[in-house]
């Protein structure tokens, strides 16, 4: 929030935060155009923290868990049972648990970075990072389906709806193909990216706007400014909810796509 305040203080005019606030410089000052920006560092930090916490929690393997192990087991079980087993089914969910668990906690922590002091930047507001995970999801569920049913069988499973007269196929098959094969990765990526992007803009807007009103505007700004700052706090809590929900939805949809790819002819 300090840099936001700096922005507003640097000119008399208030510049509403736009896409430019997501263009961060490299963390290495001598290489201002480098790719190692804060979100890139956050990716690495998130991976390290997620692995470390999960590993420490799982390491003891006590039958009667301590606090850390219990927390780790609850978190792990939430994804394993609540998403993996309930969606994919108890028969073959086990082999996808590592993917779902690492995906969920990786996205969750990267989203939470938007609200964690010193980070305060949602990693997935960088479109490329959301595209990467969505593309990976697309590859994963299609690969699983093709491996199980073969390419033709899988395409038939995904694109030919059962219980419909063949006369409708010319209309429905392209639609199904479009929605099940083409659109899914796009919606996955955009849902995550847009939520993080918009949430961050909203927060920056309330924060910088609040400071601008107090520092520059005067008059009614002394009333509206603090109100905006209070709203910034409220929005922060809302954002935390969204950060969790987006991670959950992303992994839930992954599990549903995998389940759909594994499904037998229905």
């Amino acid at each position: 929030m300090t840099y936001a305040a700096t922005i507003s203080a640097s000119g008399d005019e208030f510049h509403a935060p736009g896409p430019a606030i997501f263009e961060l410089p490299s963390v290495f000052p001598w290489n201002g155009d480098g790719v190692v920006t804060k979100p890139v560092l956050q990716l690495v930090v998130a991976a390290v923290v997620v692995f470390t916490l999960l590993y420490l929690a799982s390491r003891k393997r006590a039958l009667v868990p301590g606090k850390l192990q219990f927390a780790g087991e609850s978190a792990y079980g939430f994804v394993r049972n609540g998403i993996g087993r309930d969606i994919i089914g108890s028969h073959d969910f086990q082999r996808y648990v590592p993917y779902l668990v690492s995906l969920f906690f990786f996205i969750l922590l990267n989203n939470l970075f938007a609200s964690i002091p010193l980070f305060q930047f949602p990693t997935f507001s960088r479109a490329g990072m959301a595209y990467a995970l969505a593309g990976l999801s697309w590859l994963v569920y299609n690969y699983i389906g093709i491996r199980k049913h073969g390419l033709i069988g899988y395409l038939k499973l995904q694109c030919v709806p059962s219980g419909v007269s063949p006369a409708m196929y010319p209309l429905l098959v392209p639609l199904e193909f479009f929605s099940n094969i083409l659109v899914r990765p796009v919606t996955l990526a955009l849902r995550l990216f847009c939520n993080m992007f918009a949430g961050h803009i909203l927060l920056v807007l309330f924060a910088t706007g609040g400071f601008h009103l107090i520092l520059e505007y005067g008059g009614i700004g002394y009333v509206a400014g603090p109100l905006a700052l209070v709203l910034a706090v409220v929005v922060s809590f809302l954002e935390m909810l969204i950060q969790f929900l987006q991670a959950y939805v992303f992994v839930l949809l992954n599990a549903m796509y995998i389940q759909g790819a594994l499904a037998d002819e229905h």
């Binding site: 840099y3 997501f22 393997r61 990072m129």
Partner: protein, 185 residues
């Protein structure tokens, strides 16, 4: 960093946020890939084996508890059976004792009855015998007395009336002395 940011913000270098940097895509995939393999290799096996062991421990405990329960049930049934047997036995013994007691009482009563009858009979017999004896001796004595009296009366019969009356008086006096002697004896 701040100054650069301000620069970027004020210069308004607009970069379409939907256009990704390919480096970011690559880095994301690499980082996530490493995380995935680390989690798969080091975290999931730990958790899964813990869960499996725990399930096994709980199931083992339940099985052990069930066998203990069954054992206890069997023992309880056995004890109840023994208790019922013992009650039955006790009742049987009590019944037997009662019957035995009643039999003994009846026998005793019968014996006592017999004894008393025997005593009474014995007494009757004795009394009868003594009566017979008394009758016999009385009869003999009265006969002798009557004979003696008759002899005396006949011996002094015709002398006179005075004598006659004397004889009688003497006889009576003798009788009295004999009685007195018998009493004194």
């Amino acid at each position: 960093m701040k100054s650069l940011l301000i620069l970027a913000a004020t210069e308004g270098e607009e970069h379409n946020p939907l256009i990704p940097l390919w480096e970011e895509i690559a880095i994301s995939l690499v980082v996530f890939g490493i995380l995935f393999f680390a989690v798969k290799k080091f975290v999931v096996p730990n958790f899964e084996s813990t869960f499996a062991e725990r399930t096994q421990a709980i199931e083992g405990g339940i099985a052990a508890a069930e066998s203990k329960q069954a054992e206890a049930d069997a023992k309880l049934a056995e004890l109840e059976q023994q208790l019922a047997d013992a009650r039955h036995e006790a009742a049987r013994i009590r019944e037997e004792a009662r019957e035995q007691g009643a039999a003994i009482v009846a026998e005793m009563r019968e014996q006592a009855q017999a004894e008393s009858t025997r005593i009474v009979d014995h007494a009757h017999t004795q009394i009868e015998a003594e009566r017979q004896q008394a009758i016999t001796s009385l009869r003999a004595e009265v006969g002798a007395l009557a004979t003696g009296l008759a002899g005396r009366i006949v011996g002094e019969s015709l002398e006179d009336d005075a004598r006659q009356s004397r004889v009688v008086e003497r006889f009576l006096a003798e009788l009295e002395t004999a009685d007195a002697a018998g009493e004194n004896a």
